[in-house]
């Protein structure tokens, strides 16, 4: 039980060669594999978003035909949701940091972890195959609504299978995390000593585990329907297309919390570190994650307010939708309170966190607008909804992801990024983002429906502003990427704990050794964010 004094071999150096990566069961390597795959898909989907904005810069045909446009937004949505946002935080940061943060050396089932990575790859390959075989990528929207998804001639079957496989990958990750958290916490790491990121992942994992099977079976039904040429949602057989929508949203609403809960966990890590004080309301934040996960199961109907749903069902779903906003509010208030009387060090990760709070507020509050019955009737399937979900998904979860990428950059790669460039990139992204999506909210109020290839003259100005915003955003993103790549190659050296963080990952060298620690980690007394007593570290 001796404590190694010299810098130990880090996990990159421990094994070499391609196979030591793609067949590794080391959670850190699997996390990084996810990262590279996820970020590549993200860039592809961003390019598609960029192309859509170009097309929409003026009414009529600008650079592509209607069918191409429809395929592009479908692919954009499918990649962003199933290949980027759902796996992003859990599968990358979760895999990499969860075991370290709770003081163990791997997840509970390392082989299952590898399996879920390979399923992810398989799903990704299926998604990409839709591009090259048959009649091209699906043109149904990421929601695959029947009966259109059954009628169209494009590669819906493949796309749906891709989503199905990715679902299994997500289930296995969730399963692994639950067991890891239950069984593998370090001695003395009680439930309320866990970092909030672990709590967030725990809540998320339950959604992954218990909601995903429903979409799995639903997508199989779509496949069956396409293969037999007749099917379960076809009125001619006694079926009902609305039932498909129920099944789809039973999963897909909870799925939006799969996207945002872990991101909220990241925010709960970053804010106390840069405020140099403990988090405000640890338990409130921990329990609100569970509350969001739980209530989130019961609100799916708010996506179907205009589908002819019955009155009582609308009332129930609307009330519950509003209730799920309360635990989110609790989190926001606690984060802001954490800044109070801190000693705030404004580094890039903190900027991203503050932007998260602002943009998540806009997204969440617009969510309230469409959660109300009267207003959703008007705003459903308009650009208001598009604005809402980009604010929560990109402005919220996406920004948290980038923030954490900076926050843990030194830990993962052992180098420090260039702070000034990062701040410039952030500024571009923040301005570009709001310029891109705010006009969409206004367009929606004016009545422009979404998934519109072409639009009326009166919507032109706002669309132009939005497109210009996308250019500024791109500039920021490219700058950020270049900065990170550069820093990884030539960035400054870093220490174990460059930010003065208090959670366990800062007790290990950067990058961590193969088995995560070079000495048995010391679980702090009190709550995991107490800066005072950990001064020595």
């Amino acid at each position: 039980m001796s404590v190694a004094l010299t810098q130990p071999v880090n996990f990159y150096q421990a094994n070499k060669g391609l196979f030591s990566w793609i067949f590794s069961t080391d959670h850190k390597r699997i996390g990084l594999l996810y990262f590279y795959a996820i970020i590549s898909f993200f860039l592809v989907a961003m390019m598609l978003g960029f192309l859509m904005r170009l097309e929409l810069i003026s009414p009529g045909e600008t650079i592509m035909g209607a069918k191409t446009y429809n395929q592009i937004f479908t692919l954009h949505g499918v990649i962003m949701i199933f290949l980027f946002l759902i796996p992003s935080v859990p599968a990358f940061f979760g895999n990499f940091f969860l075991p370290i943060m709770i003081g163990t050396d791997d997840v509970a089932f390392p082989k299952v972890n590898l399996l879920s990575w390979w399923l992810y790859v398989l799903g990704g390959i299926f998604a990409l195959l839709t591009l090259v075989v048959g009649n091209g990528p699906a043109d149904t929207g990421w929601t695959f609504y029947a009966p259109y998804s059954v009628k169209t001639g494009t590669n819906v079957t493949l796309a749906v299978l891709a989503a199905f496989i990715l679902g299994f990958s997500s289930i296995l990750t969730g399963l692994n995390f639950i067991v890891t958290i239950h069984r593998l916490r370090a001695p003395k790491m009680g439930w309320f000593k866990m970092p909030l990121f672990a709590w967030a992942l725990y809540a998320t994992a339950w959604i992954q585990l218990l909601a995903t099977p429903i979409i799995g079976i639903t997508l199989l039904m779509i496949v069956a329907e396409r293969v037999f040429g007749l099917g379960l949602f076809d009125p001619a057989l006694g079926g009902d297309p609305i039932l498909y929508q129920h099944l789809f949203w039973i999963y897909s609403h909870p799925a939006v919390y799969i996207m945002v809960l872990p991101a909220m966990g990241l925010i709960s890590e970053m804010i106390p570190t840069f405020a140099k004080r403990t988090i405000f309301g640890y338990k409130a934040i921990a329990f609100s994650s569970l509350a969001i996960a739980f209530i989130g199961y019961f609100v799916w109907g708010h996506h179907m307010f205009t589908s002819g749903m019955s009155g009582p069902a609308r009332v129930i779903f609307s009330v519950l939708t509003f209730l799920v906003a309360v635990p989110s509010a609790i989190k926001v208030f606690n984060w802001v309170a954490t800044l109070y009387k801190g000693s705030i060090d404004v580094k890039t990760p903190l900027l991203f966190s503050l932007a998260f709070i602002f943009q998540f507020l806009v997204g969440g509050l617009t969510g309230l607008v469409i959660g109300a019955l009267a207003t959703d009737i008007h705003l459903h399937d308009t650009y208001f909804v598009v604005g809402h979900f980009h604010y929560v998904m990109f402005g919220g979860a996406g920004f948290a992801f980038f923030g954490a990428l900076h926050y843990w950059f030194p830990k993962i790669w052992g180098k420090m990024y260039h702070e000034k460039t990062a701040k410039v990139a952030f500024t571009f992204m923040f301005i570009g983002f709001n310029l891109l999506y705010f006009p969409m909210l206004v367009l929606g109020i004016m009545g422009m429906p979404r998934r519109y290839y072409d639009y009326l003259e009166e919507f032109t100005t706002l669309n132009v502003i939005s497109t210009v915003g996308s250019w500024i955003l791109i500039t920021g993103i490219i700058l950020m990427i270049i900065n990170l790549i550069q820093s990884k190659r030539t960035g400054g050296e870093t220490t174990r704990n460059p930010w003065g963080g208090t959670t366990l990952e800062w007790q290990t060298p950067s990058p961590p050794p193969l088995h995560n620690f070079d000495a048995v980690p010391v679980v702090p007394e009190g709550n995991p964010y107490d800066h005072k007593q950990n001064k020595s570290i």
Binding site: P99, D105, V179, P187, L209, P213, L230, L232, G238, A519
Partner: protein
């Protein structure tokens, strides 16, 4: 490399964790079929009369026999775990073999049931099927879909048990280290439980 050991390592053997993981997996299986039961419930409500009427086409006798076969296989697998825990490896192997044989019996009976339906042209897309009423079509589509998916689970469970037998022979699964068999058993019981519901919902709604 460092020479200390973390007590709580993901690489230590942890039976409790394996079993917990298996249960979590069973929850997902439950909800997978749960989605289908939801579809069944709604469509049965929308087409109650035709569902009732269609269920007469199914053979209650074969269904009952199959239910009993599966229940018995559940028994044998449960007994095989007791046997292994008591150190009686031979008996345990025999009981697993019996389970797999029951699984095969189940599948053979299913095969005859399905082929009878095929002969009547009740499979989606066949001539008789096409002339049926909407609700009837839905009934048979669901029947084939749900029993088909269940059959797939029977096959997977059987293969899994076969693999476990091999592991027992190779002394990888032993009286002291029997969690793999226990998990295989859990899976098998789940398959049984699902059938416990499929049976009355399709065969017995007279």
């Amino acid at each position: 490399m460092s020479n200390f050991v973390l007590v709580n390592s993901g690489h230590n053997r942890d039976d409790e964790a394996s079993k917990f993981g298996m249960w979590l997996f069973l929850f997902t299986e439950l909800l997978l079929f749960g989605g289908l039961f939801l579809v069944y419930t709604i469509y049965r409500y929308l087409n109650s009369e035709t569902f009732l009427y269609s269920s007469y086409e199914l053979n209650v006798l074969l269904g009952t026999v199959n239910t009993i076969v599966l229940l018995t296989s559940s028994l044998t697998v449960a007994l095989s775990i007791t046997a292994l825990q008591k150190g009686n490896i031979r008996l345990s192997l025999w009981l697993i073999t019996a389970t797999i044989l029951f699984a095969l019996t189940f599948l053979v009976i299913k095969y005859f049931e399905w082929s009878a339906k095929f002969e009547h042209g009740l499979f989606p897309g066949m001539d008789h099927y096409i002339q049926m009423l909407p609700g009837e079509k839905m009934f048979f589509f669901l029947y084939f879909f749900m029993t088909g998916l269940h059959g797939l689970h029977v096959i997977i469970g059987g293969v899994l048990l076969g693999y476990i037998m091999w592991e027992i022979k190779k002394k990888k699964v032993t009286p002291d280290n029997n969690i793999f068999l226990e998990n295989g058993g859990l899976y098998w019981h789940l398959v049984d439980i699902i059938w416990i519901f499929l049976f009355p919902l399709f065969y017995l709604i007279h």
